[in-house]
């Protein structure tokens, strides 16, 4: 089975839900026309990243009636998609969230677990942290969602892997920094680790990162898809808005895992046992 994935590295208008929604619908239509089955937007694609006190103004209680989600769900009849937004819970806590929408339904919502609050980041000041990593079934197979900083903690994809994820969808609003005489330092790191995860988990690892500026922050784009062998299947341009298309041949999972049975030989019960011992010592 093959699926066509589209990674949309878009710019966003900061705090402007309606304009960003229009952009999503336009791109969903375009990706659909181009034969994509699954479209991944970047982190906070409906709101922009540096929200600060805009958080409560743009927060959404996702449902079929919600004025933003109803359009996205309608579009999801044609194409599965991952969108980024601020989710408000019933008790008015605000989360950075990634929603997987398919066939008019919200299949899954992941709330960002790891909120960076250091250096240029200040997420915990304005947002609540999620507390689960759950893989979920889609019409293409079992998927795991990761939002930006989640990915820097190796336990995040590990848990999703153990929960059955064969397709990892990471989306980010990653600011470029650390430019030397070669390249954007932050981009180098992200690409290296994306590739490493694809290889270590013998799974598909897709990354959709936004572009554009917010005040002085610059987002670098550069979407990637690595296959279970760690091979780069597609890469978006740096800096520019683009939709990057790639075909994922899901049979590659079987071929790679037959050759390299890392999943078969993994020892999660050992990890659990040892972590239990280690944490008890604390």
């Amino acid at each position: 089975m093959s699926i066509n994935i589209a990674l949309a590295q878009i710019n966003t208008r900061l705090g402007d839900l309606s304009s960003n929604l229009d952009r999503h619908l336009t791109i969903a239509n375009e990706a659909c026309q181009n034969g994509a089955d699954l479209l991944v937007f970047p982190e906070l694609s409906l709101t922009g990243y540096s929200l600060q006190d805009l958080v409560p103004q743009v927060a959404i209680r996702p449902s079929k009636e919600d004025p933003v989600f109803k359009h996205l769900l309608q579009a999801s009849l044609e194409i599965d998609m991952v969108v980024g937004f601020v989710e408000e819970d019933a008790r008015h806590r605000f989360y950075i969230a990634a929603g997987y929408l398919s066939k008019g339904e919200i299949t899954h919502i992941h709330r960002k677990v790891h909120l960076p609050t250091y250096g240029i980041f200040d997420e915990k000041r304005f947002l609540a942290a999620g507390d689960t990593f759950r893989a979920f079934d889609t019409r293409f197979g079992r998927v795991g969602l990761l939002i930006c900083e989640d990915f820097w903690h190796i336990s995040s994809p590990y848990l999703l892997w153990q929960d059955g994820a064969d397709i990892f969808l990471l989306h980010s609003a990653s600011p470029g920094r650390g430019i030397t005489d070669k390249h954007i330092g932050s981009a180098d790191w992200v690409e290296t680790i994306n590739r490493a995860y694809a290889g270590l988990f013998t799974a598909f690892f897709a990354h959709s990162n936004r572009v554009g500026f917010e005040d002085g922050l610059y987002f670098w784009g550069g979407a990637t898809l690595f296959d279970p062998d760690g091979k780069l299947m597609a890469m978006g341009p740096y800096d520019l808005e683009a939709i990057t298309y790639a075909e994922m041949d899901l049979n590659q999972l079987r071929r790679t895992r037959t050759r390299l049975p890392l999943l078969r030989d993994e020892r999660p019960e050992l990890v659990l046992h040892e972590l239990g011992r280690i944490l008890k010592h604390d």
Binding site: L14, S50, D181
Partner: protein, 273 residues
Amino acid sequence: MIDLPINSELVRNILVRFIDSEITRAGYSRAIINLSGGIDSAVACVLAAEALGPENVLAIRIPYKTSAPDSLEHAQLLIDQLNIQSLTIPITEMVDSLIECFPDMSKTRKGNIMARARMIIAYDQSEAFHGLVIGTGNKTEILLGYTTLFGDSACAINPIGDLYKTQVRQLAVDLKIPQVIIDKPPSADLWLGQTDEAELGFTYEKVDQLLYLLIDHRYQPAECIQAGFEEKFVQSVIDRIQRFQFKRSLPPIAKISSRTIGSDFLFFRDSGT
């Protein structure tokens, strides 16, 4: 570890798009730059001309009677090379009318008045030309506080404020800035014979290497000394950075209400765009 060279092409591309993004999102399409004849404003001008088109960039030359004559010539070289718009507005009369009120005025006071007079001219042109003022302060001078508050530091956006002076030089070479501008000693040109490096007491090349370790790589002072810098030099630079923190901050507002601008009323400037 001291890895100051930058990928000029990548940086140029980011800064050009930064200028375009920030100016257009603020609702403008034009920019004003105080073109001093030095390297920093030359680099900012090239980037702005590329971002907005030469016809949308206004370079202003703002000489005082003691300004070096070649400052005007060097600025003109770049204006001709880029084919940008330009104006020359001498400030001798407006500055002298204030200086003459205080016969024993220090050099520093006079220099500050000139820098702030240039700010007034630039911001007046901002309204007249319907553009935003582009800052030309580099990371070295911002960190060392080697600027006049509300003078040369005043701007709407600053494309080169995260580049050390030596990195600006590298970019200038790659942007094909006229060699004479790159080669001359950096100077605020506030009085005859003034040079930055004589006034600061060290070279940009040396201090940039130290700043790169201290700031970018978070070295402890002792680690900088171990890396080969003299203790006195390290301490004097650290003192300068701390002493001039006020030049890098907005003025503190005394908190009275339940929500205060700057402390718990927080929005990016680009909000809504």
